[in-house]
């Protein structure tokens, strides 16, 4: 059983006891513990259940690569599933639950899958569950879904907050082990700006655990000195608890800082996402140990040898009283020696290599430890806990030579450099046969815009596994960075390490080498997803020989650790089954993030009210105070209508319309796009953008214009006013302002860059208020200041002046068919004008109206609305707007497209008005049916409704629509079925329902 020893543990503070709960039980650990070390220290080796077979599992690793010990941590709005226990620092009051079992961790019904395992090999689900057809959805799939998944979903909205940092720096060094510290120091001494990040909560990486000496001192002392020196440099930023998550094009690095991952964070963000632009990135990310593939290598108590050492040295925790070591390399002997020195029993070191020579084995031998060369594990014994191992000859087929009782197994299959970040953005790997791993190929680094590599590796991450090699490699990496950035080296000299020499490892991809089918079916490659050697071999047998096929067919490497422990072992098995060498098989693609990062951190502060900016007009607060029902239009909020006490939405809209038509209404039109186009070529430019001629517009006049896409489709409309000889003000739709502004810039910058035109989007500079209705002029005259008579300011004219003492620009334009003025004032004075209009007009019945009233009134008048009558497939000609298309111009955007055969086809659907026979309102979006069906069996249609409203003015339903040869068919009756098929009959009429002669707007 795992226990806490009475002494040792460099990371824990035995004077500070932390209480926490695990599966409802009260537990205690020490400050400095991780959840995993605390649980192990408390004798809890069983920590979870696997994904597919629900096998009992313990922790295997000591870092974020852990595949088994995943927990639900926290409660309520702070609950999070799938936290890696070895990477979860313990804190007072932490609440954790194990996952993927029912009813309990100890007794899990799902474990029957283990018994059925032979019926559930890789990909079995592709071959079964197909009959009867309906069963997949109703029986099989729900069952599979329930037994899969890991943690339970969070139920509440997240109570924590998250933020983003943006920085630029010369160099980012990823990894605060001895290589990263060295590279950072050398770069910083040379004067470069350096950011050094480390995912762990302390500096130093493996070296202090492994007893390395640097420059004659214990590694820990050297680490402390170096960190102190770096901290004192103004050009260095140090961050612990910060993991590099991904490397993207052009030196973009994403780093994930766990700032305050605990409930009592006192307002600090939980996580912080760093978006870093670096000129060079150094990955000093170390290496990860590989498991060995022997039968039942997944029983709780089987751990990586390096992890066993970590728990012992860092936390004073032993995974067992009797630990068998199984290895193919010298490094694992460090674990044997450390356990022995801690007074624990190491009954045997099982070494697959026939000859064992190195200095570390020699030391072990001298300590009296038993070394069994050429030996392997035939099988681990025990169910929920290791009880022993059966040994065999590594070269054989698994015949048991000896059994040893033990309660833990420390395994080492060699170490693989962490190449993920290097690979994210295209860095390539080479196979290092001697060390049996893939390592970065320095000649094929990810390249930046200048074609040069921007990522450099240092230390174990380069494949320089031993401390001495790692340090010289780090120095070389720093050199490469300095050279690339034209920097001369500083004074610091690179450190040197003293380590015993190590004998080469022997690649061992299966233990024993000639294991039969029975054993292979019990050798786990991917612990979490339950992928075994037999599965990968089956995949190859069935033709899934591409590494990507094998991965997907077996799910190898697709678990939450993304194959950090399993990939190389799996590749080797696949290569063997294919009869190829490992490098021929290649790797699967490494994708960000390196270790999963919270969605919360990705979203950052942008949630709730900050999700997107809310754009407010200067009158926003007034609307809010008057019962405005909001309608989001782009990022704006516009009042849909103003609800009065006890009034329904429809009533409110009708009231606003009737009042505007008989008295005077006010509309906040501030959101309308206002783009100023200026310069000697402004007229020529607008002639290209609009279908009509704008260059001939007279100063002081307005013209309604249409803008089309290159494909000829109508994309926006609005009134253009010529302010001076070389200045135009273009109004756009509310939703279109930003898009049209960008559209103008694009043409100007990419096609007509020699034209002398400048563009500015002034939308927010002005408040704009439409004063609409028969009493509009009377109201404005009361404010006084300018002559607004028909003669002084005729329809489609504009004038500058003052109203009620406020500087205004008044446009005589109408979107309702009424006498109407749109008045622009500087934004800061919008509210003053609005208030004046309301108070002066009280006895005239002045009343604000919202967007819905605006829509209904324009439809009564037969005016089109972008987004209703248009949908990206409609050309102006379809809408009877030929009058707004200049025939004199050589060209405008969309002109050529509008000449294409389908565009000039007389059979196009064109704009008409529609009136139901009953007076009812036509259903929204309804289609007019025609006789029969088309070749694909669909009902033929001959038109559709584009806008449909109840008109309070006419007290009946009115609609606009596009109808096949519409205007030629006035008076015909069409049938529009509702969704349920009920027919609604409507007559084709003129689209202008109100004041067809236009007498009211031009008074």
């Amino acid at each position: 059983m795992s226990i806490r020893l009475n002494s040792g543990g460099r990371r824990i503070d035995r004077d500070r006891v932390l209480r926490y709960r695990f599966n409802g039980r009260d537990m205690a650990g020490f400050a400095g513990d991780t959840l995993a070390s605390a649980l192990l220290g408390a004798g809890q080796t069983l920590m979870g259940r696997s994904f597919k077979y629900h096998r009992p599992r313990g922790v295997v690793a000591s870092g974020p690569e852990e595949p088994n010990a995943l927990m639900g941590v926290g409660e309520g709005a702070r609950f999070e599933p799938n936290q890696r226990a070895p990477a979860t620092p313990l804190h007072e009051g932490l609440v954790a639950v194990s996952q993927n079992h029912w009813p309990s961790l100890e007794r899990d019904v799902g474990a029957v899958n283990t018994a059925l395992a032979r019926f559930l090999p890789a990909g079995f689900y592709y071959k079964t569950f197909t009959w009867p057809r309906a069963f997949w959805k109703h029986v099989y799939e729900p069952f599979i879904r329930r037994s899969a998944g890991l943690g339970r979903p969070p139920e509440e909205a997240d109570a924590d907050r998250y933020e983003h940092f943006n920085i630029r720096t010369d160099v980012v060094v990823i990894g605060g082990g001895i290589a990263g510290l060295t590279a950072a120091r050398l770069a910083a001494e040379a004067g470069l700006e350096v950011l050094l990040i480390e995912q762990d909560t302390i500096w130093g990486g493996r070296a202090p655990v492994d007893g390395v000496e640097i420059d004659g001192n214990p590694a820990q002392a050297w680490v402390d000195d170096t960190v102190a020196a770096l901290a004192a440099m103004p050009n260095v930023r140090l961050r612990l608890g910060t993991m590099a998550a991904g490397i993207y094009d052009h030196g973009y690095l994403l780093a994930y800082e766990r700032v305050a991952d605990r409930p009592d964070s006192s307002g600090a963000p939980r996580h912080r996402l760093w978006r870093v632009r670096a000129r060079r990135i150094v990955t000093a990310t170390g290496a990860i140990e590989r498991p060995l593939s022997f039968a039942c290598n997944d029983v709780p108590g089987v751990m990586l040898a390096g992890a066993v050492r970590d728990y012992l040295v860092d936390y004073g925790v032993s995974p067992g009283d009797r630990t068998v070591i199984v290895t193919n390399n010298d490094d694992a002997y460090r674990t044997a020696i450390a356990l022995h020195r801690a007074g624990l029993s190491v009954p045997a070191i099982v070494d697959a290599r026939p000859e064992i020579a190195g200095a570390l084995p020699e030391e072990a031998r001298q300590l009296g430890l038993t070394i069994l060369p050429g030996t392997g594990i035939a099988k681990v014994k025990g169910g929920r806990q290791v009880t022993g191992v059966a040994l065999c000859q590594q070269g054989g087929d698994g015949a048991v030579t000896q059994e040893i009782a033990c309660d833990a197994v420390a395994m080492s299959g060699g170490w693989s450099p962490v190449v993920h970040l290097w690979s994210h953005c295209g860095g390539k790997l080479i196979w290092d046969a001697e060390q049996a791993h893939f390592r970065p190929d320095p000649d094929r680094a990810p390249t930046g815009a200048d074609g040069r590599g921007f990522v450099v590796t240092a230390g174990a991450a380069s494949g320089a596994l031993r401390a001495d090699a790692a340090l010289s490699d780090a120095a070389a990496a720093a050199d490469r960075v300095l050279t690339a950035l034209d920097q001369t080296a500083g004074d610091a000299s690179p450190p040197r390490a003293d380590v015993p020499s190590e004998a080469p490892l022997a690649p061992v991809w299966m233990m024993p080498q000639r294991a039969g089918a029975d054993l292979r079916a019990k050798m786990w490659l991917d612990f979490q997803n339950d992928v075994k050697v037999s599965d990968v071999r089956l995949a190859a047998q069935e033709g899934f020989t591409s590494v990507e096929h094998a991965k997907r067919y077996t799910t190898l490497g697709m678990a939450t650790d993304q194959g950090k422990l399993s990939n190389i072992n799996g590749l080797a098995v696949l290569a063997d089954a294919r009869g190829d060498a490992i490098p021929q098989v290649g790797t699967t693609t490494f994708r960000p993030p390196y270790v999963p990062i919270s969605m919360g951190s990705i979203a950052g502060e942008a949630r709730g009210d900050l999700f997107q900016p809310i754009r407010r007009t200067p009158l926003h607060d007034w609307h809010e105070g008057q019962g405005a029902r909001w309608e989001p239009v782009g990022q704006w909020r516009r009042p849909y209508t103003y609800l009065r006490e006890g009034e329904g939405v429809k009533d409110a809209v009708n009231r606003e319309i009737l009042n505007t038509r008989s008295n005077v209404g006010l509309l906040d039109a501030s959101t309308l796009g206002k783009i100023v186009v200026k310069g000697p070529d402004a007229g020529r430019f607008l002639d290209m953008l609009y279908t009509n001629m704008m260059s001939t517009l007279k100063v002081g006049r307005c013209r309604y214009g249409l803008m089309c896409s290159e494909n000829g489709f109508l994309m926006d409309d609005g009134v253009v006013a010529r302010l001076s000889e070389d200045t135009f003000l273009c109004h756009t739709t509310t939703g279109g302002a930003d898009r049209i502004h960008a559209h103008m810039e694009e043409w100007l910058q990419t096609e007509w860059w020699t034209w002398k035109v400048w563009i500015a989007n002034l939308t927010e500079h002005y408040a704009q208020i439409a004063v609409v209705g028969p009493k509009a002029r009377t109201l404005l005259e009361r404010l006084g200041g300018m002559d607004l008579s028909r003669d002084a300011l005729p329809f489609m004219g504009w004038a500058d002046g003052t109203l009620g003492g406020l500087p205004v620009r008044v446009y005589r334009i109408s979107f309702s068919g009424e006498l109407s003025y749109e008045i622009a004032v500087p934004a800061g004075q919008g509210r003053a004008l609005w208030d004046r209009l309301l108070s002066e007009g009280a006895d005239l019945g002045v009343m604000p109206y919202g967007t819905e009233a605006l829509h209904v009134m324009r439809a009564e008048k037969g005016f089109i609305m972008i987004g209703d009558e248009t949908d990206g497939t409609v050309i102006p000609q379809d809408l009877g707007l030929d009058w707004a298309i200049s025939k004199k111009k050589d060209d405008y955007l969309g002109k050529r497209a509008q000449a294409r055969p389908h565009m000039t086809d007389p059979d196009r659907w064109t704009l008409v008005g529609l009136e139901t026979e009953s007076g009812a309102v036509l259903p929204e979006g309804a289609y007019a049916v025609a006789e029969g069906t088309n070749a694909n069996g669909q009902r033929r249609t001959q038109g559709r409704v584009t806008s449909t409203y109840y008109s309070p003015t006419l007290d009946r339903g009115i609609a606009m629509g596009l109808v096949w040869r519409g205007p030629e068919r006035l008076g015909e009756v069409l049938t529009f079925p509702k969704v349920d098929g009920t027919p609604v009959r409507a007559r084709i009429v003129s689209p202008v329902f109100y004041d067809p002669k236009g007498e009211k707007q031009d008074v």
């Binding site: 339970r152 973009y252 990705i602 989001p632 987004g867 979006g925």
Partner: protein, 414 residues
């Protein structure tokens, strides 16, 4: 062909599964085939499958430069729906959806089609009108859809926040018979079925040139030698422009990266597929338990199959707002595929200026759902010279201005 069934699995279990043969062959290319399809993605394989099944054309090779299904077919988020607006789209996507319903049985391979329902949220008045219109159109097209209330939305998907402060949910277009399927299985199942009909699916074989004589295709050059053919079908999604160039014509296609991501797996909490187009994101939960997430395409043309992180941010932001509980899930993996975008966001299934050469492309961000139907139409076009389902999707529609614009109905068309 070795039949797959629960019984067969049980039988094999007793002998350590030694009896399973290859799912598809690994043939050497022959000198000549009646028909060559370039691209062993879903669309290419489905084309070959239907050529054999419907028209008895079995002297067929499917040529793949990498591993079959390794393009967008193996990278997509597997949403299947047919609630498109325009008649030609609704016809082919509905045909396809219907074929998905029986695909597992048709090809004796469980593609795990799961008609769990797809809803597209309406979060602006404009979207409400758009989806009401789509529902009207669908009713006449024979596609079963409904415009549903916010309450019903919440019932179907309890983890949805329907009254978010910015874009409260005003309703949704609901297609109960839409859903998802297992993408790899679609490619593998078709490859197996094609192989079984005697066709050659040839992987690790890149087409480098198209040969022709007097305006008529005669064959292709590949990294594994020259292969002659009487008919050539180009079905290569993001690389269509490259292949068209080899065949001597140009396409109105842009290739851009489209990204997706998954969370770590969790127990079931979402039974339906939800698309939120105003905020630009969509999500479903896979059978493994991962939340499968996607959003908009990257804004610049490229072939790298990896995207920019700011698009991921935009998508995740949208979905945290829509499903607040995912804030405490973690992103496990992000990836990208190169999608082939046409100007009207509709595909091209067409003859080309080169005689005997046909093209099927332009499925852009949403062609997984179309795989069986597209193959059905493409096979018919190649075998008979015309197909009613493909009729509107010609290459020359761009010249005529006869667009089939689907971006009209929804910003995102997955």
């Amino acid at each position: 062909m070795q039949r797959y069934s629960a019984f067969a699995v049980a039988r094999e279990a007793l002998r350590h599964h030694r009896g399973w043969g290859r799912a598809w062959g690994a043939p050497e290319p022959k000198a000549h085939y009646d028909t060559v399809i370039v691209g062993a993605g879903g669309h290419g394989l489905a084309t070959a499958y239907w050529l054999g099944k419907r028209f008895g054309i079995r002297d067929v090779a499917v040529i793949e430069k990498g591993w079959l299904g390794g393009g967008n077919t193996g990278r997509n988020t597997t949403i299947i729906r047919s609630n498109y607006l325009q008649d030609p789209s609704a016809a082919i996507y509905e045909k396809s959806r219907a074929l998905y319903e029986t695909m597992s049985q048709d090809i004796n391979y469980n593609v795990m089609f799961s008609p769990r329902g797809v809803m597209m949220l309406a979060q602006t008045e404009h979207e409400v009108r758009g989806y009401r219109r789509t529902a009207q159109a669908n009713a006449l097209q024979g596609v079963e859809t409904q415009f549903i209330s916010p309450r019903r939305v919440k019932e179907l998907c309890p983890i949805l926040n329907i009254d978010g402060p910015r874009y409260p949910v005003l309703g949704a277009l609901w297609q109960p018979r839409g859903g998802t399927a297992r993408h790899d299985a679609v490619a593998w199942g078709y490859a197996r079925a094609c192989s079984d009909m005697g066709m050659d699916v040839i992987q690790q074989c890149e087409v480098t040139a198209v040969r022709s004589e007097a305006g008529q295709v005669t064959g292709i050059e590949t990294t594994r030698g020259t292969i002659g053919c009487g008919r050539l079908g180009i079905v290569v999604a993001g690389h269509s422009g490259v292949l068209a160039d080899m065949a001597g014509f140009r396409l109105p296609i842009e290739s851009v990266a489209l990204q997706a991501l998954v969370s770590e797996p969790i127990k079931p909490c979402m039974d339906v597929v939800v698309m939120a187009n105003t905020v630009h994101g969509y999500m479903s939960q896979s059978d493994k338990g991962e939340m499968v997430i996607g959003g908009g395409a990257d804004g610049y043309n490229n072939y790298t199959q990896r995207g920019s992180f700011h698009h991921i941010e935009e998508t995740v932001r949208a979905l945290v707002e829509t499903f607040p509980m995912i804030s405490r899930l973690k992103m496990l993996r992000q990836w990208g595929g190169i999608v082939d975008m046409t100007g009207d966001r509709s595909p091209i299934i067409s003859r080309t200026p080169l005689g005997g050469c046909y093209i099927n492309c332009g499925w852009g961000t949403g062609g997984f759902k179309a795989i069986p139907g597209s193959g059905w139409a493409m096979a018919e076009l190649m075998a008979k010279g015309a197909s009613p389902l493909a009729e509107a999707f010609t290459l020359d529609r761009f010249r005529q201005g006869r667009f089939i614009d689907e971006s009209v109905a929804a910003g995102v068309a997955h």
